[in-house]
């Protein structure tokens, strides 16, 4: 610990980490990504999320996640990840014709 009196203002060395904020706006709905903010720790992140993103009655539940913990799919993998679903159209009920006169199918 160095001397502390009459010290000139220090420059912040490290930024507060970034957090992604998810808000559930009403019971029954899923959390939705609202944005991000910077905070030193998870409790502050939660409090700031409440102050920034729920001022207009937009929230009943808040999740904050360290941005560095979010694992995102790579855009380069878009084709490999998502195109195959396009050729499995039989997963949609509308693919199948419903014969006339048959109910509850």
């Amino acid at each position: 610990m160095t001397e502390v009196t009459a010290e000139p203002a220090q420059r912040t060395e490290r930024e507060w980490p970034m957090w992604e904020v998810f808000i559930r706006s009403q019971h029954g709905l899923a959390h939705k990504h609202a944005g991000s903010l910077h905070a030193a720790d998870s409790l502050s992140a939660m409090q700031h999320a409440r102050d920034v993103y729920t001022r207009r009655n937009e929230g009943v539940s808040i999740w904050v996640v360290r941005a560095s913990d979010v694992v995102a799919s790579s855009p380069d993998d878009k084709a490999a990840l998502f195109d195959p679903a396009q050729s499995k159209v039989f997963r949609h009920p509308t693919f199948f014709p419903t014969p006339d006169g048959v109910k509850h199918i």
């Binding site: 203002a9 420059r11 060395e13 970034m18």
Partner: protein
């Protein structure tokens, strides 16, 4: 606007044929209205321009808190004080949404913020004017936020996903800002002769900066074509300026105030209001740092940053210690 004179770093807009196959595919995507998202490939100039534009917009919100915060202490009723505090808080929030958006482009908030503090990065010219009376608070909400709305609603459809989404959030809150400003003007114009004179004076001083704020005339805007091709600018400066003037003149008449520009006249042939010559010399002086409040605004931002360093450092140090404790316990 809040992001004025954003340089694109390009020398003319490329045609599709002039682009590399990768860029062509990307440009076609943009032309088709598909959003660009953070980890997508994008032309370097597009990324750099967006960093400049979004951070300039964010800086504008943060600096923009200052002229209005100036009157919180002196708000003339408790209700007006509460409304003004909520409004300025919103500006802080807007800054936050926009800094978050720019961080998706691979820069950190502190890095772009350092450019503001050093004077390297710009912010909107409009915030370099002083708020001299309570009526200025009305005028700023009515005219400055009014201009912002005209500019920001189209940006909700811009090509960069995080920026568009941030603007949607901002626009939801912006109408309140304009309304509270206009509401202040209505109260003043329905008040005493002294109050009405205060309102007229504020309009006279804020009118020209508010219309200049939309940026230089189209023929003088070298960067617009590229920004529009990239869909990060969706309307020309003159278009937005005209729209703002057309919607505001009837409001001035409603308030019973005198028009601040003797050349403001309805032009039947054009279907728009004609207006007088904007003093571009003054505008560029303000942009270059020689406006009434440039030094003051930057000094305030620097002071808050410097004075707050011990606070930010302490919270980081404490968080580190807590993390270390948790690790020890887990071991």
């Amino acid at each position: 606007m809040y992001a004025q004179l954003v340089e694109t770093g390009t020398k003319g807009v490329k045609t599709l044929e002039q682009m590399s196959p990768q860029e062509r595919a990307w440009q076609e995507k943009v032309n088709a209205g598909v959003k660009v998202e953070p980890k997508d490939w994008m032309p370097d100039a597009y990324r750099k321009t967006l960093v400049r534009q979004i951070s300039q917009h964010a800086h504008s919100e943060y600096v923009g808190m200052l002229p209005e915060a100036n009157w919180i202490a002196r708000a003339p009723t408790l209700k007006r004080k509460a409304i003004l505090m909520a409004k300025v808080q919103d500006e802080a929030g807007h800054g936050l949404y926009l800094y978050s958006a720019v961080e998706t482009l691979g820069v950190t908030r502190d890095t772009v913020y350092a450019d503001l503090l050093s004077g390297k990065a710009k912010y909107s010219s409009i915030f370099n004017y002083p708020t001299l009376t309570w009526a200025d608070i009305g005028a700023v909400g009515w005219l400055v936020d009014g201009s912002a709305i005209v500019n920001q609603v189209p940006i909700c459809r811009c090509s960069y996903g995080p920026y568009a989404r941030a603007m949607v959030r901002v626009c939801k809150e912006e109408s309140f800002h304009q309304r509270q400003g206009f509401d202040i003007m209505v109260a003043l114009c329905n008040g005493t002769a002294e109050q009405k004179a205060m309102a007229q004076d504020a309009l006279n001083r804020w009118w020209w900066p508010s219309i200049a704020m939309h940026g230089p005339a189209d023929e003088a805007s070298v960067n617009s074509a590229q920004s529009m091709a990239w869909k990060i600018k969706l309307n020309s400066n003159d278009e937005l300026r005209q729209k703002f003037i057309d919607q505001t003149v009837p409001q001035i008449r409603f308030l019973g105030l005198e028009l601040p520009d003797p050349d403001l006249k309805w032009n039947e042939a054009r279907g728009h209001y004609d207006y007088g010559q904007i003093d571009w010399v003054d505008f560029f002086n303000v942009v270059k740092g020689k406006g009434p409040c440039n030094e003051e605004r930057l000094a305030a931002r620097n002071k808050a940053w410097d004075d707050g360093a011990w606070f930010r450092d302490a919270l980081t140090a404490h968080a580190d210690r807590q993390d270390a404790e948790l690790l020890k316990q887990a071991a």
